[in-house]
Amino acid sequence: MTSWYIAKGPESDVALSSRVRIARNLKEYPFPNKLDGNQALLITNRISNVLKTDATLKSKAFKYYDLARLNETEKNVMIEKHLISPDIVKCCNECGVFISRDEKISIMMQEEDHIRIQCMLPGNQIENVLEMCMEIDNIFEKNIKYAFNEEFGYLTSCPTNVGTGIRASVMLHLPALTMTGLVKGMLTACSKIGIAIRGIYGENSESLGQIYQISNQVTLGQNEKEIITNVSSVVFQIIEQERLVRKELQKQNKNLFKDRIMRAYGIMTNAEIMSSQECLNLISEVRLGINMGILKNIKIETLNKIMLLIQPGNLQKHYEMSLNERERDIMRSKLIKELLNPIKE
């Protein structure tokens, strides 16, 4: 079975993955920042029981990971796969995560809220992801009492999440809109309708690898469907724009366009030392090349695999050894060569 990180989803020429997370808290307990260790364990146990007894959830084969018992590499692997948030690593209150066998579902315990249900699928299919999330939430709701009031909806530790507790996001690869600077204008336009666009790798608004996350900011006042429709209509617009600008760029200067991609491909397949930063930018060019029909012999799935495995945690797990930064840069190039030119090596 191909893992979902590598699989190609709908509209994979622009959309990489869709993710929905919902924040929930149990009624009778204080939120994680005021919770003691014993209470935290009790909550985790209750969730664990539901996951074991409910037939639908049982079939997903969840496994629990106590964060205190994981080493740095194991935690980084999970962060890089978006199974846990970087924030949960900083929490120290008996936190952990339930992960389904297919790694499409993760349930974080005692992060900012008691429960964070998160579902992910490849490509642009945010509606399906919401359905997955809601199915789990409904089962939980039959078994536990959530903190809720009529006015503010589901109560969360941070006021930015109250109401539906939903954060829906789609990851998009926008090389053409970045090159032309058009992405900045979209950023402003989206902030006006409660949608945020941010670069997912790298700090601040500077995006590495031209990958952006489109997500809702508003959780109160709109219902779940409205939130999802809002995000998906913005995503639809951006995808269309990106495709248009890609075609236009290619048309305007065919040789320049191809040169750029072939150079990136050349470096990627020949370099001996490569930082993850450089690598992400090269992957971006190569991905564009594949989607524009310039690089015909590489599968998007291979590139997806590279994108996951070149990250520090996954790289060390792949080679089953602990590597320092310099060693990682060397092994990264080795891995890419192995995956891209299997015949030569």
């Binding site: 009031n149 109401g163 539906t164 006006k192 409660g194």
Partner: protein, 196 residues
Amino acid sequence: MLCQSCNMKDANVHFTEIINDKKVELYLCNECAQEASQNNLICPININDFFTGMIANCESETRQSNFHLVACNKCGMSFEQFQKTGKLGCEECHKVFKKKLRPILKRLHGDLQHNGKNPCEEAISKISEKVSKSAYDEKSDVIEKSVKTGKPEKTPDEIETLKNDLNKAIQSEEYEKAAELRDKIKLLKNNEISEK
């Protein structure tokens, strides 16, 4: 909030600048923020931190009314603590700080009323299952007939009024009445679908 530099556009970047060891905070629009960072004077802060800044912004007003000293009776979280961390301590905090939370929520979400999924629906369906069905069979028959003969364009309004009544019934904990109303709504909705 308007940009503190040009006072024209909406501010959506939170900037922190250190001048002579003193922290200066600014809320800027994208354009001004870009200009400022090019001048290399200011270091941009993640947009997530923007929120904590928004709460701190109403600090002076809070201090005047001594509200910052108000603490939650369940978890002990004070409003001052909340302003610093941006995180509430428990469900009760939402009630205790309601007055001060409302303007914050309004700014964040532009709305104050939850419109999404409701766990009460679930609770009521459980309760209504317990209520003996036969007692309502007759009534639902009557409703069914009246709906079938009624004008279809009227049903959405009717559903709305019934939904309002349902909410009221839940709030006043009249679950039997709520169950009855829920059945009515269900009938009307089914009828609507079958007509389409």
